[in-house]
Symmetry: none
Subunit: 206 residues, 4 copies
């Protein structure tokens, strides 16, 4: 719900597309199809059909197919970054901060933006190089938040490993949950967050 608040803000400020607009609908459809079938196996016609328009009309909203993939990823990048900032600002202890890192990423992978988040990771190579660079620049702030939080955790002695290494191991563990975690299974998202947190931080506090 707070997430929704944030998303509304981002829409209103024009940072991400309103899913009620044609452009927004297209991006939602693209995220879904790119996840299901992969970018290359999704045709522009598929995309158009999914939103009930004809293929030619897509190019009134996006210069080309590549730009659609970019937009899908870019909006996730922006939203993840903003959401993490909010989350971290509410966390007081270092423990809570690390939990915020993990929880935020899990939210994106299993929440409303799951498709786009998945696409960002698994269709990376389908993106043209120049767009890849733009995305990487966009993610810089996000990674710095992770980095500095992990550094802090290291200084406070709650993690037992090089912060950089741990960060990457956690990223991997989290992203991979998209392949096996079912929100209707035994584990709640909150419990899953705790499990991953327990990998990162000595068991004193979970």
């Amino acid at each position: 719900m707070e997430e929704n608040q944030l998303i509304k803000q981002l829409i209103d400020s024009g940072k991400i597309s309103d899913p009620e607009t044609p452009r927004g609908r297209l991006l939602v459809a693209a995220a879904q199809l790119f996840k299901e079938k992969g970018y290359n196996r999704t045709t522009v016609r598929d995309l158009a059909a999914q939103v009930g328009i004809l293929s030619g009309s897509i190019f009134h909203h996006f210069k080309n197919k590549d730009e659609i993939l970019f937009a899908v990823m870019n909006e996730v990048v922006i939203a993840m970054d903003e959401a993490l900032k909010v989350s971290l600002s509410k966390a007081n202890t270092i423990n809570d901060k690390v939990r915020a890192l993990i929880a935020n990423e899990l939210d994106f992978i299993h929440g409303k933006t799951s498709n786009a988040t998945y696409v960002m990771v698994y269709e990376w190579r389908a993106l043209s190089e120049s767009y890849q660079q733009q995305i990487m620049q966009g993610r810089a702030g996000y990674f710095e938040l992770w980095q500095s939080t992990m550094d802090e955790a290291r200084r406070e002695g709650v993690i037992a490993m090089e912060p950089d290494c741990l960060r990457q191991l956690l990223h991997g563990a989290i992203i991979w949950t998209s392949h096996w975690y079912k929100s209707d299974g035994k584990l709640t998202i909150r419990q899953l967050t705790n499990r991953i947190l327990s990998l990162a931080i000595k068991p004193s506090s979970n």
Copy 2:
């Protein structure tokens, strides 16, 4: 080194292709290109050029492009399974066994078969459904080895989480190393193995 021994055995027994043969060379090239550019963006001509033949000749060795992707994945599946069996048979303590699980997977992701292993994970959806099923059948044994080892670890009290959940988290952490770990960086593979092991197992023994 022992790995090489095993691979030779597998080649001799016909389970995987000899990289000296045309078929084997094709598979090596395919793994590399599929990793670099993705399956869809790799053309049959690319593949042929890489091994110095013409595109038509590829179809003397494989029925179609799909079969090449399958073969790349399938040989990894076989080799990973065999290698893990050997590794586990040499491990005495539960600690060593879990380390074997991790070390084996890291070996495949960063060793000679890194390309093919990467392809198996990241080009999964490019594989036709019937081949996906074959691969999944082929991996069943491998996953059982993980599962039973993790179960044992749980019974012996060295892991603090549902074995199934931990298994998946470790898989994710390990696979993701393909994106960031450089063998010529600060961390040796052995050290990386220890780092991951330390996530899994209480710090009494590493």
Copy 3:
């Protein structure tokens, strides 16, 4: 002339394609090329060139090459059937009815639809099996008209042979005319019709 009337009706009712539309033009070209060079030796590019479009555009009108062959044949099937119904309805004596059978078929083989009719006979094996079945179903009515007319002729004693056998012999004789009969030669179509009729029916009445 009446034939033209009928064809217009069929076009208007959507049963066969208007030769003014792209689809219709393609079908006319296909019939011609398939007759001249055979289905297999006619490339999609040949076809496109003939109607002045590019090869890719063909697939806006037909799913694949096979469907083009089917459409060529199917439109002949429909038109032959309709034309025969009209002809028979105007025939009073049994003699006239048998003449109608023959004349109708000769019209198709030597009239405007000669190419398509030829293709239907001589490219039959090039058609995929499922399409063959559809065509055969479509021809059932036509053959029944022949059959029942021949049966009637037999009952009335004007033919001296098993109706089934005679029907087939006449079909063969008629179809083969596509190889030798020239409308600008010694024989008019009407005379040719009489010749064939004289094979079928005792010379009392022609």
Copy 4:
């Protein structure tokens, strides 16, 4: 049986290939496959497989695929011509002569050489133009036998039509039997011969 006698003579004299030799076996297989699948859809590999050799070996026996088709047709041409000569030489009355024309052709269409005969008619356009001319030259004698016999029949008043026209109509009726006549059906070949003869000749004599 007499037919077999003749074929042996032709083999011995080198006019047609011995089906025991590789070349002969190839021609038998080619006739069969060309009939079943059509020339274009029959691959050289299919052919090789059918006779138990490998594709490359075919070119020790024939310069190219085209030559195989030519050879199939050419041997039929030769055999039909020789067989007709023999048959005609045994016929005394004009009636018997016309029957010989018909019977001979039916023999080839439904006898041992049925495949090759079928191919000669239905794969004509698949043959290169220069070979077509050779075949047509080879058939000239055969057609002259038909022509002169028909002319004679006309002079004797047993046929009621231009000999040329009747000849073609009979050819068509006869060839078409390949599509419907079954030797295990109601009609024997001899009866079928009579039916066709009755089309040609006034019913005084069958």
